[in-house]
Subunit: 469 residues, 2 copies
């Protein structure tokens, strides 16, 4: 640590006690590498505040001493968004000690949770009040509320509930000068200028440090119905979704899986079998939930699927007979990444285009990549109804030369750009995608992002090197 | 006009033809005074672009020549938000010629409308496709999409559909340097930094000029059920709302009216009668709609009201027997402002607090105002379920001394501030409320608004004197 960093650490420890700072390098080490192992940072100490007051004191002092801070929650960023720079110039600030759920109100359908609350802990706590916080994703056992807000996280329930942005009613944050923004009152109507809460969602910690949030709750799920369908094309899958949405309330999962990707899962993951007997070019996993009568939901789905079959929107469908079968259906979807890994490296792209354009994009971009790079295979799977798929490219021989991988990614992003889509649908920009963000986003938007960053954080101390260079 | 203004006007007319500028002062005059007649501005010409390209050319030139621009739609701002400064330094730019509905897609549930499209025209057009754009308000025959976005308009359907912010899927805007931001692709998931679309909603034209938007559509309403209830207190009214929301899908209107306010309507508005025979301290107008079976909806409401009565959540209720009666119920609610005017001047306050706090606020703040200012009567009516009421203060003798009116308003806003609420729930800040916004909003938020304004509009040419001094 340099002299300023030492001064900050000493001052904070003197004021808030030994729990407020970690200096043992062995304790810091696990938090210096990102989840995917792509980035490695250095931080001489890890600040671990236990309250908003402590965060404000730290940021205030960091501002005075010009010390950059890198906020971190569960350290599950897919883009190196929470990894400090490699030169040791910044200090990590971990929000994990701020893990109180300040309140849960079933009547108001709101909970106030601190930034360090782990997503699955929030799920459990609100369930005790008969409520549900609908956001969920693979990393729910480690991802924190603060990180989910900073990255505007997605997950599998976006179709019905939107991304984290829609689930945040208000935010408490420490701004770059150490002042506190308290938006926890979560006014339903408040037209006093620019919406600061919404600006902080998805800002990746570059405009301030989220310390707590008021979150929207929904009635607990009483029953779910899970379906596996075979369809002939992504186009047919999207038609099926629209057809069903007119007839069934509560559809919240709609995941598309290509035939070859399912085959990969069946080959590499033990104890898996296809829910359908025939061969289908594309598969769809559908889930609907209700807080009311499960039999009514199931009846609506059966009727909807029957009508869809008659109208030519699907080839075959299997409704999970029980919870175990529903779990087995989801296990197929959730095992894709593992199956790909068993096969060899694949190159992941988290991309989106307009929902209506996604079927054509999947087919055309997939064909283009496989044509331009012989020996590759595209696995485009995931959230069709959100216009967002995980566009993974496998090498059929399981091996990628780094240069070739880069060329493939560049082509994928070029195709996304041509389609007016986004090079980051749900994972953010972090360190990983700054180049592609700048290359393929309209200049007016990139300029606005830079101007806002420099206006709110003129000293550049908030998560440096992320989103904005 | 000064030399620069003349140069801009001439250049634009030469390039885009006579339709692109209005210089006849009689044609400009109606647009120089705000809807409530509180502000009077001067503008030597009114720019009337017909396309995004024209707007971009105007802004680009205005930026070069340092000429402030005041964007205007239907000129129905309640806060002087679209009235130019009184010194003639700025030029009006009216978006009303940009009134194309570029597309309506029932499949995607989206429409793309230009800024100058009048709200009721959009309603009619999407209805042809079996769709509904749910935002509606009194000024729907003149308010434009651009203005509704710039002010994040509310209205009576917020309970179910949210404010304009929730209904905007993407925005096209000309930024202060003349560059065009095109967010019309309306990606459902797009995590490339700060959300520029959301920042432009409610920005009152101070960060750029909205030229078009992608708007969310919903299935057309097939039937509605309208109910008038008598309750004993705002607290009971909110309990009733929560009770009904658990049992009836599609509740979208929930308007509270105090006894004395209803009495004022019955006295001053011809052909009105109370829907209920008995006396009630508070009244509630409830409306639910469905795109499906109207009989099912009505049955659900009847059952819900019956259960609510048994549970002690209401004293009496009348369900409108037909459309004429439903209209008569709404006429009572919509005539409050007119009844107040017939009585004498009233001082209006558009305020919000947390939904859960609103019942207590209405009673306590109402009593405090009437106690501190003898001879006054508070009409607190409107959107209880949004935590937003129109807090009007009448003089019982119908006459207000200007100084006394100011003192009353100051007290009302102080009480809102103490309750952690907003001095502008749905009308924005404009010119009218800058002082109260700065006085009663946390410093971190005011500072952020100013910093963002100066960063994106460093020359200060975008709607000067609104929101930010």
């Amino acid at each position: 640590m340099n002299a300023e960093q030492t001064r900050l650490v000493t001052t904070i420890r003197d004021r808030f006690g030994p729990k407020s700072v970690v200096t043992d390098s062995a304790d810091i080490a696990p938090w210096l590498t990102d989840w995917r192992g792509k980035f490695q940072g250095i931080s001489g100490a890890m600040l671990t505040p236990g309250s908003t007051e402590e965060v404000a004191a730290i940021v205030s002092l960091a501002s005075e001493l010009r010390i950059p801070l890198v906020p971190q929650g569960g350290n599950t960023s897919m883009c190196g968004g929470a990894t400090p720079p490699g030169d040791g110039s910044a200090l990590l600030i971990s929000l994990r000690r701020m893990n109180r759920i300040r309140s849960v109100s079933a009547g108001d359908r709101q909970a106030i949770a601190e930034a360090g609350v782990i997503l699955s802990d929030l799920h459990d706590r609100v369930a005790e009040e008969g409520c549900r916080f609908p956001m969920t994703l693979g990393a729910k056992g480690s991802a924190t509320i603060g990180g989910l807000i900073a990255t505007n996280a997605g997950g599998t329930q976006v179709l019905r509930f939107g991304t984290m942005r829609s689930l945040v009613a208000g935010i408490e944050a420490v701004m770059p000068d150490g002042s506190v923004h308290n938006g926890l009152a979560a006014l339903k109507k408040d037209n006093r200028g620019y919406n600061l809460d919404q600006l902080l969602v998805g800002a990746e910690g570059t405009l301030g440090i989220v310390t707590a949030a008021t979150l929207r709750l929904f009635p607990a799920v009483a029953a779910r119905t899970t379906v596996w369908c075979g369809v002939s094309s992504p186009e047919q899958a999207l038609d099926l979704l629209r057809f069903l949405e007119e007839r069934v309330a509560g559809i919240e999962g709609f995941e598309i899986v290509p035939h070859d990707t399912l085959a990969l899962v069946l080959r590499h993951i033990p104890n898996t079998r296809s829910p359908l007997s025939g061969e289908h070019a594309w598969h769809v996993l559908i889930e609907a939930t209700t807080s009311g009568d499960g039999d009514l939901l199931r009846a609506a789905i059966e009727e909807g699927l029957g009508a869809a079959h008659e109208a030519g929107h699907l080839a075959d469908a299997a409704i999970a007979a029980n919870e175990a079968q529903a779990e087995a259906f989801w296990h197929l979807r959730d095992s894709i990444a593992e199956a790909e890994r068993a096969h060899g490296a694949s190159i992941a792209h988290d991309i989106s285009v307009r929902v209506a354009d996604m079927p054509r994009f999947i087919e055309e971009a997939g064909a283009e990549v496989e044509r331009r790079f012989p020996g590759t295979k595209v696995d485009a799977f995931g959230h069709l109804g959100d216009g967002n798929v995980h566009f993974h490219v496998r090498a059929l021989d399981g091996v990628w030369a780094p240069e070739r991988a880069k060329e493939v990614s560049r082509l994928v992003y070029d195709l996304v750009g041509e389609a007016g889509g986004s090079v980051s649908a749900e994972h953010g920009i972090g360190q990983l995608k700054i180049g592609e963000f700048e290359r393929l986003t309209e200049p007016a938007r990139v300029a606005a992002v830079r101007a806002i960053k420099h206006a709110l954080d003129p000293l550049g101390i908030m998560n440096p090197g992320k989103l904005v260079r």
